[in-house]
Symmetry: C2
Subunit: 347 residues, 2 copies
DNA sequence: GCTAAGAATGTAACCGGTTACAGTACAGGA
DNA sequence: TCCTGTACTGTAACCGGTTACATTCTTAGC
């Protein structure tokens, strides 16, 4: 690895000049700059990142805090790969990389009281690595931990967790609007007994989807029935159980909006187990548009999230805060209702 | 952030001693060590990682090279999340983090001739960041690019690509054994016309699965018929097309082993489209055990890969090379046949 | 009591950049 | 011609650790 000093020597200039060429090219005369650039290219020189981070007190890396929540074992993020790809490509165009932070605090994994590892530990790591900012992925319902990040003063952008602070914001889908659209769609198909299976308490997107469900009912001129709202946890099993509970009523719903595709699949299975045919006897709409949605039988009508949009939006917001061009407003990505077979519209 | 010099001052020792406490504690007297440790804990001191990386010429980070292959748009790694979680937890226990490397060379994404970004660029980034090693994820079939990594002298471990070099190895499933087991299972169920839909040419796991298919036939005493081997590309569509082709023969197979679950699902759809019932008219076995496998109808019998094992094994191998305790032999993780409904064994 | 080996610690030179500040050169104005 | 402002470049002090080598302090052996 060739160093800046060597390049400087080869060009007959000082290291400072070489550094300037890479950092504030406008302050270097054209001839000098071109000469340095040529030699640097020839010897494949780029400034060493460790040295640069140390000197600038700022690295070209953004941390990713993504913890598994022991309280939700087996939980899969519905679109982690798209999220990472989106982040990666958006960050790379600004020269940043993504550092997947890991706490060595494995004890936590066995500690039943905490879902997120100590945020303090993460903030410390962030400082020691001179990270430029943090991306936080919701991995449960531990809002307190997120607040600690928001208050640390580090540029933070959360995915699917409402976060606010001096340099913090978040990106999420417009969950309420998406849910409302799903419900209006069901109402337009003639349903007037529409139930919902919600996500876990304390989870922001879950709450927004429930709110959207209510709004959708209101917009369709339908009454809100509290006994048509059952609580789930985003997992398939809870969709199954919730649906079974709903079907056990005297006047069961004819349609259900599940706050996740996983739960919608569970609902599908419960309907099948009850001898009902979907969509003839029961219409089902989910949320997320995960891969399996198009594969189950009947194919699931669902509210699709803008998966690549998350990465782009999160990276954009984070870079804005890193560059101190202000704290962006929270991003609410538009959703899109994908009509397949489970709602009965395609009959 | 408190520095080592400040800790040293507080303890009445030199920085060197503080450094020793964190790096070679045995060389420091017990009383001094305990004193430094106490003060460090009290002031929440840990060595700055940028400075440490610069000074040691080695950071506590491992790079992850994971490119999307434009030639396979929409390709999802069958178990990226498990892989990352496994890597993360195994690395974290040794104090390492995972750096998702991104090349700013976005032009590549539009360049139809190259699948991987320039490996040279990645090697350069690795050096500039003083990364301790690299994890390479197969993202296509560009074996040449991987060879460049292997020859760079950096500790490298590849996932699902055969890699060898002075400090390179790889981890993959025992694809041949898994495929052979699947075929023997079908044979044991009475099938004697067993076809296969392979993965793309040039892909190592695909080749191994095809080899396993042949071995399985031989072990079951069945003849190998070349017209029962159709080439796919791991995607669902190719499974559909391949199956349709197989079914068009005069004496179509009664069972098919697909080298990926995606293709198996495609085969399922093709069978349905041809008016065949699975497993009554056609037995289907896949490979991977992705999430949808248990959800399709009929539920897919498949060769499950040890998903968390990949992360653990890759991290272990990499750490061994980093610590210069030798270059581990390639790891072939055992697979496990998961019998569900599509093979007919559960009738 | 003296010496030498060994243990513990300190000194200072790195690692490879960035940047405040100082210095030089040159153009334009008086 | 001299002065001043601007443009460019160089010097050197950081950033915060690590570590070779020097130094000091013990302690054992004679």
């Amino acid at each position: 690895m060739v160093t800046a000093r060597e390049i400087a020597q080869l060009c007959g200039v000082s290291v400072a000049t070489v550094s300037r060429v890479f950092n504030r090219p406008a302050t270097v005369s054209a001839t000098t700059r071109e000469n340095v650039e040529r030699v640097a290219r020839e010897f494949d020189f780029s400034p060493n990142e460790s040295a640069r981070a140390l000197s600038r007190q700022r690295s070209a890396m953004v941390g990713l805090v993504w913890d598994t929540d022991h309280r939700r074992p087996g939980w899969r993020h519905p679109f982690l790969q798209d999220l990472l790809l989106g982040l990666k490509s958006a960050l790379s165009s600004h020269g940043y990389h993504l550092l997947l932070l890991a706490t060595s605090d494995d004890a936590r994994d066995r500690n039943p009281g905490v879902s997120l590892a100590d945020p303090i530990a993460y903030v410390g790591m962030t400082r020691r690595h001179h990270l430029a900012g943090l991306v936080l992925i919701d991995s449960g319902t531990d809002a307190d931990a997120f607040a600690t990040f928001a208050q640390s003063g580090l540029p933070c952008v959360a995915v699917d967790v409402a976060l606010s602070g001096p340099r913090a914001t978040y990106v999420t889908s417009d969950n309420a609007a998406g849910a409302a659209e799903a419900v209006r769609h069901l109402a337009a198909l003639g349903h007037d007994r529409i139930a919902t299976i919600t996500g876990p308490r304390g989870n922001a997107p879950a709450a927004a989807r429930t709110e959207g469900y209510r709004r959708g009912l209101a917009e369709a001129g339908l009454p809100a029935r509290e006994d048509f709202v059952v609580t789930g946890d985003f997992y398939r099993e809870s969709g199954f159980v919730g649906m079974r509970r709903l079907l056990a009523r005297k006047d069961p719903p004819t349609a259900v909006f599940a706050a996740s595709d996983e739960m919608a699949v569970g609902a599908l299975l419960a309907a099948r187990a009850a001898g009902l045919s979907v969509p003839a006897d029961l219409a089902v709409v989910g949320f997320d548009d995960i891969e399996v949605a198009s594969l189950v039988d009947p194919a699931l009508t669902t509210v699709a999230q803008d998966k690549p949009g998350f990465g782009t939006a999160a990276a954009g917001a984070l870079l804005a805060m890193i560059d101190n061009t202000g704290v962006p407003e929270p991003v609410h990505l538009p959703t899109k209702l994908v009509v397949r077979d489970s709602c009965g519209a395609t009959r």
